[in-house]
Symmetry: C2
Subunit: 160 residues, 2 copies
């Protein structure tokens, strides 16, 4: 059970978009080039971020993306769920209902202790991702100043 690669790409793109000057956009092809990932697949991830209201885009030759919210208002979970969907990591198929010894053929409406444990574990994962934001991502980055400056110059040449 592994997340799509686009989750990694989307997280790094949000980190990069967080550094854009106010009102400026960066094109999908530049985000793809910078991260060394295929433009078409990255485009799909960016569209999902856009559908979730995390980034906004302009179309046309000067088109591109920027964050749609402050960095402290975008959580890791927002980005992960935008790309991966909100489906719980445990799919209960209610096999307890198949038991030949079952009393009553209707469900209780409550998950069994096994499903509940798996849902709680899923929530522990989501809860950690909900506690982290693009702001905390930037704070933890620890890149060499030389690299930060080079990236700024690279981005400035491509701003829309």
């Amino acid at each position: 059970m592994v997340l799509k690669n686009q989750v990694e790409w989307a997280l790094h793109c949000c980190s990069m978009l967080a550094g854009l000057p106010q009102g400026k956009y960066l094109a999908a092809k530049d985000l793809a080039e910078f991260h060394g990932v295929p433009k078409e697949y990255l485009g799909k991830a960016l569209q999902r971020l856009s559908a979730a209201g995390l980034v906004e885009s302009t179309l046309g030759p000067a088109g591109g993306y920027r964050l749609a919210k402050p960095v402290a208002a975008i959580t890791f979970l927002d980005i992960v769920e935008a790309v991966e969907g909100r489906r719980v990591t445990f799919a209960c198929t209610e096999i307890r209902m198949n038991s030949p010894c079952r009393v009553g053929k209707r469900g209780t409406g409550k998950p069994c202790s096994i499903a509940q444990a798996m849902y709680d574990a899923d929530e522990a994962w989501r809860s950690h991702l909900r506690s982290l934001t693009v702001e905390s991502m930037l704070a933890g980055a620890q890149l060499p100043k030389e690299q930060v400056d080079a990236t700024k110059r690279w981005v400035e040449q491509r701003l829309k």
Copy 2:
């Protein structure tokens, strides 16, 4: 990102095997019949539990499975990892190394803040599953007494 159905089946099978009398076995075909799941696919899950040392089996016409450890010594995580593998849910492909602005072409050896956050979330999920055992699963079951008794009788007729 969803776990295999065999994870659900394996958890329910461990719950059932926990109720067997000392030294007795239950056949894979009976476990499959009771849970209403395909014997071949369940067989693979049981083999994985066996490879992980969680259940032990005897071969031959009187063959079957039983737990290989006390119920308090088998965690949900043991069962989930036996069936699903131990692979972390976030696969970092180190796209930061693709940056045209990268200073130095070697990695730092440390995960970036994004990968670290995703690994920590994965560990929060595993940690919850590690805190729960087959013993706690049974304690939380809350089945009607009538159904528990009927299940006991069903199992007794099939013990090896």
